[in-house]
């Protein structure tokens, strides 16, 4: 899959946001107490907002992707299981997982933007990367304020 | 200068000689000796000029401290001659016959501190306070606020705020809610 339409790119992005929703849902499933669940519910709402935004952007156009990026596309649909927090996760655990997930999304969208030939599509990816970067900053800020107060 | 100090102390019991500056010394004498001291300084020691005379209300010690400044043009040296009088009997010998202009300072002290100088010309006339009816206003127990409140009408528009109350109103008005 060396080529993708603009629609497919958006599909991909939407899929990715939905995967994030699933990621937090999954965490919520193993959450032991109400406070963890409510924190995750808030993050789920954020990701849902992203997906909705992308749905609204669905449009025409094509994008040419390199082979390696196309492979990434497939891989990225799955959420990395490596730093999944434990059941007794603290606020720190949740925020760390969320921030690193956003960081990976940011990198991926950035790469897609660089490879996209079509200016319109590049712009879309750049916007997405920007969104993810803001997301990550939000989590990091929350981490600074609520977790690492003395750090 | 030492010589002068010794002379004053020997003749008039002057004390506390102090050289404040190269050109200015101070000394304290009994009020009863003041006139003699000033006369001697004027006629024998070259301090021909009376530069200034005033008083300080030392209410804690119940005295008025009077200060006469005399100057020697020959040596460009001045002396502050201090003496004290009872605050409850504020009467001092006039020196207007030594220096004509002394009556002006005495009239000022009469008006501002309520110190009398019997025989001093026009000593009971108004000096700068026209129509003043209150107590001598440079006395430390003169309550300027009470005098103002009793004498003048308050101009409308005055209001003040207490810092703590104002900060509460602005920053945490709900505290008593």
């Amino acid at each position: 899959m060396g080529y993708a339409t603009f629609g497919e790119v958006l599909e991909f992005a939407i899929g990715r946001e939905n995967a994030a929703v699933d990621f937090y849902r999954e965490l919520s499933g193993i959450a032991a107490f109400a406070a963890q669940k409510s924190t995750l519910a808030e993050f789920i709402a954020m990701e849902r907002g992203h997906a909705a935004m992308l749905e609204a952007m669905k449009a025409r156009g094509t994008v040419k992707l390199s082979a390696s990026t196309a492979v990434d596309l497939g891989a990225a649909r799955r959420v990395e299981a490596t730093d999944r927090p434990p059941a007794g996760m603290t606020f720190q655990d949740i925020l760390t997982a969320a921030a690193s997930k956003e960081a990976r999304s940011f990198e991926l969208y950035g790469r897609l933007a660089r490879e996209a030939g079509d200016p319109g599509i590049r712009e879309t990816f750049e916007r997405l990367a920007g969104e993810e970067s803001r997301h990550r900053a939000y989590f990091q800020d929350l981490y600074e304020r609520e977790v690492a107060r003395d750090n | 200068m030492r010589e002068l100090a010794d002379m004053l102390s020997g003749r008039y019991g002057a004390r506390e000689w102090h050289d404040q500056r190269k050109d200015l010394s101070s000394v304290t004498v009994d009020a009863s000796k003041l006139r003699d001291v000033l006369t001697w300084l004027r006629d024998e020691a070259g301090y021909a000029h009376l530069a200034f005379a005033t008083a300080v209300d030392e209410i804690e010690r119940k005295v008025f401290r009077l200060t006469y400044t005399v100057h020697n043009y020959g040596t460009a040296h001045g002396i502050l001659v201090h003496c004290e009088i009872d605050r409850d009997r504020p009467v001092m010998e006039s020196i207007h016959r030594l220096w004509g202009q002394a009556w002006t300072y005495q009239r000022e002290m009469r008006e501002w501190y309520g110190i009398d100088f019997p025989g001093s010309p026009r000593v009971d006339e108004e000096f700068v306070l026209e129509g003043w009816e209150g107590p001598p206003m440079m006395r430390r127990d003169f309550d300027s606020l009470a005098y103002s409140d009793a004498t003048y009408a308050e101009r409308p528009g005055r209001e003040t705020r207490d810092p703590a109350a104002y900060m509460k109103e602005k920053l945490y008005p709900e505290a008593d809610a």
């Binding site: 808030e42 003395d150 | 606020l145 008593d176």
Partner: protein
């Protein structure tokens, strides 16, 4: 007639074109003397609106008034002095006493206007021609009517202090306390800064007058922990102190301590209010820290039966298990707690809410519940290897020290973090004979810890390693751990935000330690709130209104768990506020 008589009148003509010695009339310029006391000037940015000028003015010529564009904040009331020249007698006492030194006088004395209303203005705010005048009266150098230096507090020397857990600060004598109290100008600017809004000028005045019973009563109106707060309060009041605008702020904290230290516990009842008659209502408080016990005290005063549930074996929460005894000796804390207990407050120790009893059970058995469970556990370092057995939880180390346990820290200890927990852990380790490095990501000035604590930790021998970003922890193979960090430089990334440490490429440092104490921050323990309880929690904090009420009308929460300041006095204030709100839902007036 002599020829001279004829020539003489003409002789003076030779001076006709010289500069005259006389002054031309009318005289236009009559400048005041350089130090003449003319119309007031005020540097409105330096002025703190304390009103000391108003207090000293013997003619009541000065009012404190709100001015456009200034609102109260921190140590500034937002008010500024307005001078009424119908009353001013130009004595300049206001200039001489001004704590901040903002007030002065120009040498301008001529001002003619037919409107009498204009002779009343706010210097430095209402523009005047003499604003910024160089000449005029200023307080003479070195001449102060106020005592700008704090009465020094007797303390153990650092060399002596680090040898034991003896209290470092010895406390003021009566003479010292009264002298220090005498420095206060009673402006009250500090009151807003205190989270509990204590009547600071009131109790300082009581110290000055030697009336400690009144002092104690004033303290307890807003704070039932005067012994503790008199020692360890974060004292936002002192940062706001008007005297601090031009010298050392008044030692408000030490004066509070002085009052509590001087009155025997047995005599407290003489000055403090008795509890109102029993209402028959019951309130459960979760957590016997300062916040929970503050709520308990005020609830008990209002006649409610209070039961406090505490997981630990002794009361006081972080005051006992977080603050070392050299800063807050246990007998002082016990005195505060014992007085609260004497009002009939029952503290059940070893009761972990969530396990036994459940929160649901408390909600059932009591008319209201107050949650004040704080932030009991340290967050981990969040670097690879941070689960190494030699990486210890700073809060747990302090608690173990309180319990008198063997800490087993070894010889070389790294404390990671820059808050008070880090400083306390470092100083505790020093007292156990360790060599201590405090490793901090930013610079000393960025540390959230009390500057006094940082200074003392260093003076007692801790080495501060700044700008060190933890990278990982490795096993050293000999029972210790290797701590790896990256040296950093501070970069101002966004204007207005605090600078961020950026790792310097390649500047990686490895040090071996016997123990690494993590003190980067603390988190809540909220597993006791179940979904069935219905208490809304957002970002690991119960959601409350300003009285502390959660989404469940009979459940309230406060203290470190909820507020932003996360210090004892804020928790105490929260407890008091919640107690009043709880009283209202139980049918009381809430006062």
């Amino acid at each position: 007639m002599d020829i001279k008589d004829i020539i003489a009148p003409f002789a003076v003509w030779k001076r006709a074109f010289e500069k005259p010695f006389t002054v031309r009339k009318p005289i236009d310029e009559r400048p005041g003397a350089p130090r003449y006391r003319g119309f007031h000037i005020n540097d409105a940015d330096t002025c703190v609106g304390c009103g000391t000028c108003e207090s000293i003015c013997m003619n009541k010529a000065i009012d404190l008034v709100p001015v456009e564009g200034r609102s109260p904040s921190g140590g500034d009331s937002g008010l500024r002095p307005r001078v009424d020249y119908g009353r001013c007698c130009w004595c300049a006492l206001c200039v001489d006493i001004c704590p901040s030194g903002s007030l002065g006088m120009s040498n301008e004395y001529l001002w003619i206007d037919s409107d009498p209303e204009v002779f009343r203005y706010v210097p430095g705010v209402d523009p005047k021609p003499w604003d910024g005048a160089e000449l005029g009266y200023r307080r003479a150098e070195g001449y102060r009517l106020l005592d700008m230096e704090r009465v020094p507090m007797p303390e153990l020397s650092h060399a002596e202090g680090v040898k034991s857990f003896l209290e470092l600060v010895k406390g003021y004598s009566r003479e010292q306390a009264e002298r220090e109290a005498d420095r206060c100008v009673a402006c009250g600017v500090c009151v807003a800064s205190c989270p509990a809004h204590m009547d600071i000028p009131g109790y300082i005045n009581a110290v000055r007058g030697g009336d400690l019973e009144t002092g104690l009563r004033l303290l307890y109106e807003t704070n039932p922990f005067p012994e503790a707060c008199g020692r360890i309060c974060t004292r936002a009041c002192e940062s706001a102190c008007a005297i601090g605008s031009g010298g050392d702020p008044v030692a408000i904290r030490w004066l509070k301590r002085y009052i509590a230290d001087q009155v025997e516990l047995a005599d407290y009842g003489k000055s403090l209010p008795r509890a109102e008659s029993a209402t028959g209502r019951k309130v459960a408080v979760v957590g016997a820290g300062p916040g929970g016990l503050s709520a308990a005290y005020y609830l008990a005063l209002l006649g409610h039966k209070v039961t406090v549930f505490e997981k630990d074996e002794a009361p006081g929460g972080m005051l006992r298990y977080g603050i070392p005894e050299y800063r807050l000796p246990y007998p002082a804390l016990d005195k505060d707690v014992d007085y609260i207990r004497s009002l009939g407050v029952e503290i059940r120790h070893g009761a972990t809410v969530g396990k036994d009893p459940a929160l649901a059970k408390l909600r059932e058995d009591f008319d209201a519940v107050y949650l004040s469970t704080g932030l009991p556990s340290a967050y981990r370092l969040d670097v690879p290897g941070d689960e190494h057995p030699r990486v210890l939880d700073g809060v747990a180390v302090l608690a173990a020290a309180t319990r008198g346990e063997e800490l087993g820290l070894g010889r070389r200890v790294a404390v990671v973090g820059g808050g008070n927990v880090a400083m306390d852990a470092a100083r505790t380790a020093l007292r156990r004979g360790c060599e201590v490095d405090i490793v901090y990501r930013r610079r000393q000035v960025d540390m959230p810890a009390d500057p006094e604590e940082i200074r003392e930790a260093k003076a007692e021998g801790a080495r501060l390693i700044e700008r060190a970003i933890p990278l990982r922890v490795e096993d050293s193979g000999d029972g210790g751990a290797r701590f790896v960090w990256n040296e950093a430089e501070m970069v101002q990334k966004e204007p207005g935000k605090r600078p961020v440490p950026e790792p310097i490429p390649g500047a990686v440092v490895t040090e071996r330690y016997d123990s690494i104490i993590a003190a980067i921050g603390q988190g809540p323990e909220l597993s006791y709130i179940t979904e069935a309880d219905g208490v809304e929690v957002r970002r690991m904090k119960p959601v409350t209104d300003r009285t502390g009420r959660t989404s469940v009308p009979t459940v309230f929460a406060g203290g470190d768990l909820v507020n932003e300041k996360k210090d004892a006095i804020s928790a105490i204030a929260d407890g008091h506020r919640a107690a009043r709100a709880i009283d209202r839902i139980l049918g009381g007036r809430g006062d």
